[in-house]
Each structure stands twice: as structure tokens, then as C-alpha cells.
Amino acid sequence: MMFKMMMCKEATRLMSKRLDAPLSFQEKLSLKLHLAMCDACTECNKQFALLHEVGPRFEMLVSEIPDEGGSSRQE
């Protein structure tokens, strides 16, 4: 199999797409190989993953508003 090393720009495209749609086997493999060798993209990948969490986290922040005077509800 001919294998051209993927570059950072393309790697970021795949790490973004991965959060919205399944990658093909080939795409997964190229991304994995690139991440194994590239620290900058590894950080970028973590940051994209973190950004992917902001929605649920925002929702948690909203639901964790402390009641004034403390809540008596215990469920």
C-alpha cells in the first residue's frame, strides 16, 4: 500500500471531522499515525475534544447554580 505521510493541516481536518461523523478506516489509520509522531497535533486534538465538551459542560454549570440558603431537596 502506497502511504503518503499526512501533514498537520490535513490531520486537523480529520480530527475535526471525527467529532461530527465517523472516519473511514484509512482516515483513522492516517490520523493515528500522524498523532503518534506529532506533538503539536496531539495537543490540537485534545483541544478540539475539549471544545466538543463545552455544550454539556455549560449545561452542567447551569444546573449547578447553588440555591441561596442551601437546598433542602435531597433526591
Binding site: 501533514m7 490535513e10 461530527d20 475539549l50 471544545l51 447551569v62 444546573s63 447553588p66 441561596e68 437546598s71
Partner: protein, 196 residues
């Protein structure tokens, strides 16, 4: 209504007041118009009060209200689109802003290379992170921010985003890629510079 029921209801009204500011900031990120954000939250709170008895004392009251707000925001977005308040999304498909981040050969530019943000858990718990996130969202072009927040704040699938915005799924991925790269660059500048 029994005394305890009315007490619970009272408690919920207080909780609405407490949660309001965060709902407004959420709606503002989404609608990018302070007045419309206030309106959407107002409508959501009114609906929550009106439908109070359908919330039958289960836990997660704020989450329930948040769900109502999401519907109101979607309504408001649809109205924005109908009223021609959106620029054509295809305008966002130029590569320029992205190309500046990378060298000709596809590697990161030296000054654009991502650094570590440390523990993500700590970031989420830090008020400062959310301020930086907010600032960076506001700094994004409207169209890009809208697609990003439909995806990452509202949790819509890219398929649903296509329906809401009238763009093709492929373009949706392109815009999301762009949004994430720009946001991460902006957040890194704001977040790491303040920490040290």
C-alpha cells in the same frame, strides 16, 4: 394547592432567578444579539412558569428549563434566517484564515503551533476559561460561530444543521474545522497568557 406544593413552587421561582444570567449568556453566544437573547430567555422563563405543573418535582429543574430555552433559541434563529439577517454561509468557505496557520508543506507555522492547555478538567472549573471562551466566540465571524454553536452548544447533528442553515454537510464540516482552529488559537492566546 398544599403548603408544601406552594413552597416547592416558590423554590423553583428562586431557582429561575438564579439561573437567568447563565441562560442569557448562553442565548447570547447563540443569537449574537443581546436584545434577542434577553427575549428568548424571557420567553423560556415564561414558558417554564406556565408549564410548571408539567415539571412534576423531578430532579434537574434547571436542565428542564435549559431544554425549553434551546427550543426558543432555535425559533429565534429560524426567524433571523427568514428575515434575511444571515450572510450567505458560502462566503465562509475561503481558505485564507486557515492557510495562515500552516506552512506551504502543511506543517504548523512556528507561531501557530498548539501548546498544552493543561488539565481540561481544571479549565472547565475555571471561571477565567469561560470568559476567554466567551470572548473568542464573540470574535468569530457570525456565520462560523453560528454553525459551531449549533453543533457544540446546542448539540445538533451536522445533518440537522444542514436543514437549519441550508448548507451542504460537506460545507458544514469545512466550517466546523475552521471554527475549531480559530477558536483554539484564540483561546490559547487568552488562556495561557493570563495563567502565567
Amino acid at each position: 394547592m398544599s403548603i408544601s406544593e406552594s413552597e416547592e413552587k416558590n423554590d423553583r421561582m428562586q431557582r429561575l432567578t438564579a439561573v437567568r444570567p447563565r441562560l442569557v449568556s448562553f442565548a447570547r453566544l447563540q443569537l449574537r444579539d443581546p436584545a434577542q437573547a434577553e427575549d428568548a430567555v424571557q420567553e423560556a422563563l415564561a414558558a417554564a412558569i406556565e408549564k410548571d405543573d408539567t415539571f412534576s418535582g423531578r430532579s434537574g429543574y434547571e436542565t428542564w428549563v435549559f431544554g425549553i430555552l434551546k427550543y426558543k433559541i432555535l425559533d429565534a434563529l429560524r426567524a433571523q434566517r427568514r428575515n434575511g439577517r444571515w450572510q450567505p454561509l458560502e462566503n465562509e468557505l475561503d481558505e485564507e484564515a486557515i492557510d495562515r496557520l500552516f506552512q506551504q508543506n502543511g506543517r504548523w507555522q512556528e507561531d501557530a503551533r498548539p501548546s498544552s492547555w493543561g488539565d481540561p478538567e481544571a479549565a472547565f472549573l475555571n471561571e477565567r476559561f469561560w470568559q476567554v471562551f466567551d470572548t473568542c466566540m464573540i470574535a468569530l465571524p457570525d456565520n462560523i460561530a453560528r454553525v459551531f454553536s449549533l453543533r457544540e452548544l446546542m448539540g445538533l447533528s451536522t445533518e440537522d444543521i444542514c436543514k437549519e442553515t441550508g448548507i451542504k454537510e460537506n460545507n458544514c464540516w469545512v466550517i466546523l474545522h475552521r471554527a475549531r482552529l480559530r477558536l483554539r488559537a484564540c483561546i490559547e492566546r487568552g488562556w495561557l497568557s493570563e495563567e502565567k
